[in-house]
Symmetry: C2
Subunit: 141 residues, 2 copies
DNA sequence: ATTACTGTAATAATATCAGTTACAGTTATT
DNA sequence: AATAACTGTAACTGATATTATTACAGTAAT
């Protein structure tokens, strides 16, 4: 799975966990275990899609702009990783004079579109709020 | 998605399409659009899991050893690409003293295990025989 | 024997992904 | 107004993963 998706989810959960809902790219990067530039790139995308607000300048950072319980992983998936199942590579060749060789690419594509939808449906059932609860439950155990 | 999975599915459909159910690695490679060594590697794996029989030596090649209608994509998936959704990379760090940072890896893992199961369930509903029908339907259209 | 295959390892080429550096723009603080 | 602490991006570098190629031993048909 696309690691930007993971960074995004982790970041959102981290923000949801913060009492004031805020953190800088560096704080997030440390928590996620990656570098701040990558976090900023992902967050920049999340901002454009209305998941977070940004405050530039000193004391700035990111803040959740939606209720954790209202944001599903599917929302994030669609924003950052939609179609990630579809192979970058298509087998076969439309020019082939073989029935299979010439049409497999398209059939395979349809299969993966279906798979992607299936995956989205699953992610639809999990919210950022739930992720936070799960993390907390883990800590108690 | 794992391109070996795609090669495997394409190859099996191609074999199913052959009147005698047989083809050499070179024929398959041409049809799939890749090189014979790769095909042999994938087929070797399929053989070990009982999907095909191999005949070495002159005039040899591969032959489907199960009914196309009985082989699901899930069978192939489990053999060649199971767990492909789970990220190779885990966010966070168990040593972190933050609730989120220390437990997110495990929670994320559980999420992806679920996603993988969801995907398998979907693949369960598609057989090699159906793939062949779809390809044929496409050619008629 | 020769030819046409598979099986597999090793290597080389290529593409993808992640980390780093650099710097312009923004805002709070003093 | 100067400084410090941020975000936003682009460009570059390095690491990693993927794919193709080469090579050769083993097997079976002719």
């Amino acid at each position: 799975m696309n690691s930007e998706f993971i960074i995004a989810v982790h970041s959102l959960v981290f923000l949801a966990h913060r009492p004031d809902g805020m953190a800088s790219s560096e704080e997030i990067a440390t928590n996620v275990c990656t570098n701040p530039v990558r976090v900023r790139k992902v967050m920049s995308c999340l901002r454009k899609h209305g998941f977070v607000d940004t405050r530039e300048g000193s004391g700035g950072g990111y803040r959740l702009s939606r209720e954790p319980g209202d944001v599903t992983l599917a929302d994030v998936y669609r924003t950052l990783a939609a179609g990630s199942l579809a192979p970058n590579w298509c087998s076969g060749d439309p020019q082939s004079d073989c029935l299979v060789g010439s049409n497999m690419g398209e059939v395979m594509n349809a299969v993966f579109c279906g798979a992607d939808q299936q995956l989205e449906r699953y992610f639809e059932s999990i919210t950022i709020g739930q992720m936070l609860s799960r993390v907390a439950a883990m800590a108690r155990a």
